[in-house]
Amino acid sequence: METKTELMDRRDFIGLAAAGLGALSLGMRGCNSPRAVAPSDWVHVGVIGVGSRGQHMMRMLLRVPGVQITGLCDIYEPRIAEGRRVTGEQTTAYSDYRKMLEARDIDAVLVATPLGLHAEHVIAALDSGRAVYGEKSMGRTLQDCNRIRDEVRRTGKIYQVGLQFMYAPWYREALRRIGEGRIGQVTQMFSCWHRNNNWRRPVPPDGGLQLERLLNWRLYRELSGGLLAELGSHQINFANTVFNAMPESAMASGGVDYWKDGREIDDNVHAILRYPGGQTLEASYITTNRLDGAQERVFGTGGSVVLTHTEATYYEEPWYPNSAIPPEMKIEHKLITGPTYSAEQPYHGKGDSPSKGSADDVDLRACQGFIDCIRNHRRPLADENAGWSEGVAVALCNRALEEGRKITLSEFLGSAAS
């Protein structure tokens, strides 16, 4: 199956790209001045979508030596002034992205528009010959993801999807340890991204419904993939990588149950994804309690790893005779026994949190990687294959959510062909 092969390739690539990233960060230290960057190596970036995420990524790009933002495109005019504050220059502004893509002073394009517009903007930017950093999720629908992947392959241009946690050293180290069998055979994953807010952006009082739907596009079906796309994509991508496969089926449930303010997107979503190796990802997204925050818990027969946005913590299971981990690796939790001790009690002790490697911001690392790929003609770690398997898995879950039933990947992929 083509999908499987691509993922295998991707996993092999992790090792290669890791070497590239290591060289990159070593090479950067002590020569972070743009003065040292040859004029031919300067990367001029045009930005489509200058909202909060776009502005954040612009700041990150501007911390990479030899990067200049030379075009700002947004249909909401106040964003241009905000974007110029970020660049500190009177950066050329556009309201039509096609005009920006005609400009000669742009080498690469950052697409940070609403999800439903990713395909249109990414494809146009690739077609214009530019390297593209496209925010996640790759596309809102299976068709969008297919079109972007095909365009990357047709043009041969660099495309990096905004799955920045792929560049986080503690995630990479976790993948390495999981790959070495350090937590035994991984059978289950649980991920959550729990917030306690209404996920709304303030709209100026005279904005009207049109501006409400533009600024709060995440809340409306036309352009949004909801919590699964905006938050779940990182975690579903991580599960795809851990299990080295796409989910073979998904089921999901959710609703607008608390924030009944006219939104169309569910304020809570729970999904179960089954993988071909018999593994499961259980994913939960809520907007009414933040106790558990954002985390991924990977459960193996020999141990567990819990990943957050800042670190990874490892826990070992008590060794038992049929454990997948070899006996010489056994390390048991220190159990405190007492009258109330029960083997079924959750483990509350400390885990092992090794150094996470580079402390740099993961978005900055993703931007450094993108610019490095452009200069050195490298394939990004978060390439179109990573983006496609993430984007399609998210779209599969969203289809299951809409239809309220379990949907298999083959049915879902077939639906695009028919």
Binding site: S33, V86, N197, D361
Partner: protein, 308 residues
Amino acid sequence: MGTEFTLYLDSADEVRAQACFDAVFDEIDRLESTFSRFRASSEISRLNREAGDGPMVTDPEVFQLLAAALDVSRKTEGVFDITVGQLMRAWGFSGRQPGIPDAQTLAAAQECVGWTNIELDPEWRTVEFLRHGLEVDLGGIAKGYAVDCAMGVLRSAGVQGLIDAGSSSIAATDEAFARGWEVSIANPLDASATLCEAELGNRALSTSGVMEQSFVQDGRIYCHLIDPTALGAETSAPVRQVLQVTVLAPSSMLADALSTAMFLLGCERGRIALAQFPDCSAFWVYSGAEGIQCAAHQWPRDNFRLCK
């Protein structure tokens, strides 16, 4: 930034109000993750790790805040200094019990201090620390800058409100609550007594005082606001002890930085320095032999009490 931000806003629509709260606190989170030296992934931490090795490019926002901080240093005889972190540690104001450090510790810390060791190159937007071990701590200016940015969020959302960062930096939109917003400046020795009042409008207010973090030894108050230019000069302890300074400025960023600087300069030198900052005013509170004494420079309303 190690402080508590409180937002008051005026909206008839609860959903909109909630969206504004979230947007303001998202912005403050963003700035915390950029400027906090306690977060390893912040841009300031990255500069602290690597700018001693050579020039580093940073984004314009960080560069501009560093430039603003150095501008205040330049105009305040260097008493406002964002490299004072090692000294703060030596005096124990960064965690452990504060106390007078021994001469060796003080000298070692002093080696790593000095705003003139930060080289900013606007042409390439680079930051370089000319001395290894130098560390930048924007705590004295980033809090005010965060208030300014939060005000910007309120303005672009078209909502009126007031932001209070730990009661030391306060700013309000022009028409907060349909009128000028009056702020009382309390007696640092008796919070129930008001020394004077100021009206916020287009201006931001910041207060620095000994009451935040300080200790007393041999009859002298040592506080967390350290003058890096007076190191080791224990003999030059001021005759009059500044207890509190309040500054009104066009931006919270400036008010924040200047309140520290005016505290350290005192009234006489402070007035001279303040002349370089248009539209800024200061109000000093001292403890003297006769009790509380006050002094002011360009204070907008002549309404202070207890003042001599």
